[in-house]
């Protein structure tokens, strides 16, 4: 989770990634950010996020992102 938070804070130093659950719906992350996050997950976790997983529900909070990473890691 810490590794993920570092990735996120790199995009926006001020957003409250620990608690915010509307990162997409609230417009905190834009399409540039999503692309950066996908690239960073690949780099830091060695996990390729498949197209079907790139949906708003998986990017709306750090928790959702982390759960997706764990799920993909187990597969």
């Amino acid at each position: 989770m810490d590794k993920l938070l570092v990735i996120l804070r790199n995009l926006d130093a001020e957003a409250d990634f620990e608690n915010c659950v509307t990162l997409i719906d609230g417009g905190i992350l834009d399409s540039f950010d999503i692309i950066s996050i996908i690239a960073a997950i690949d780099e830091e976790f060695g996990i390729t996020v498949p197209a079907e997983e790139i949906i708003p529900e998986n990017f709306n909070s750090a928790k959702a992102l982390y759960e997706m990473i764990q799920r993909l890691d187990e597969e």
């Binding site: 399409s31 950066s36 079907e52």
Partner: protein, 507 residues
Amino acid sequence: MQRNLLEYLENSAKEFPDKTAFSDGKKGLTFEELLDLSKAAGCSLLEEGFAKEPIAVLMDKSPAMAAAFLAVLYSGGCYVPLDREMSANRIKLILETLKPRAMIVGEKTTAGFARTLKYDGEIYSFEELSFGDGDDEILDEARERALDTDPAYIVYTSGSTGIPKGVAASHRNVIDYIEALGEVLQADGGTIFGNQSPLYLDACLKDFYTTLKFAAETVFIPKTLFSFPVKLIGFLNEHKINTVCWVVSVFTYISGVGALESVQPKFLRTAAFGSEVFPAKQLRLWREALPDTRFINLYGPTECTGMSCFYEVDREFDDDEAVPIGKAFPNTAVTLLDDDGQLIEDADVPGEIYISGAGVTYGYYGDFERTEQAFVQNPLNSAYREIVYKTGDLARYNEYGELVYISRRDQQIKHMGYRIELAEIEAAAAGLDGAALVCCVFDSVRSLITLYYTGTIEEPKLKKQLKELLPGYMLPSAVERLDEFPSLSSGKIDRKTLTDKAIERNV
């Protein structure tokens, strides 16, 4: 002969009054509704005393914004499209430079934001302007005074001095462009565009005016969908979208994450792309997934209205081969000249692209100096005045006689489809307290902007302050403070060394 862009709207509204012209996927405006709203709002502008002058339109992308553009044309004026995503600072700069006497906003959307801009002209909501009916007598009178050489819009593009440049294009420029583009896209009344381009860029002319000319339809695709490829393709299928003119980065993002393997845009018959080079590997994925779709590479600067060159993909490309930009649009000439102004006709000799024809715009509004640097007498013509646009783009002919883009001559870049002067980012950063020397470099392979600077300001603080000054797409992905800059023997900053440093950092 057609003299005014509004004739597109008027003809379509007469023939297909109940057909949807623009929609956001939920709500739309038919051609008749669009006509009525535009005429009513245009008439109000005339009654308020505005005619033949720039009117700013600051709204969120919507069918109503389309009507606001057309309303300004009904007043005989030219619209200046603005959007909150350009950042407040940039909008302020544009308003201070241009000084339009009026601005149109959305009552429930941008009105509050507009009041924070300290703008001293009149602010009207589109809702109040378009209330009631337009008076035909007043509108006809305005049309009689109109010329096809009158400016239709001013769009702002990145300027190397830090102040955006406003490119002014006439009705004639746009008509010439849309007539040619319609042929290239093979557009007709059945065309349904899926719009991606912001309405504050010339890129949107393709969807916008082609829709009006052919009584076609444009669906404004919600911006967040471009982050989610599978959902985006679902939207295209739901709305039976068959034509898209998108920036390359949208296509490569979709194919790059493997979305085409699970879902395809099944109605897509024409896919046009531009602004950047389409990597051959990604293009192959698209062509394999959609073997019956036409893929068209478009090239053209804002200064020549829209697009000036096109190439319809008709063969396979090696991974390291560049997709050509092809040949000039109908009624446009594109020539390659060497540094001595001599014509280049042989293959593989690099030269600068010069563009001539009815699509060459007036240049930069209120800035004769910068206009004259780029809009020049055709070096090959010593007989009469013929203004051509010197693009600053280098290209060559390949063995098929097709033009292939090579690079820029200056520090202008294309990032996520947006045209950016690195010097504009530098100008913004250099203006911050505590920043001394600044240098912005671009890793073109990874499409990443890095800003180096010296001075006392901390990196996160500089990043935060830049965010307030520049639109999102112009923000550097990395910011690094250096103790000192590498310099050339001339004393100038060594950009090459800094670029290499950034590339190394990005690996």
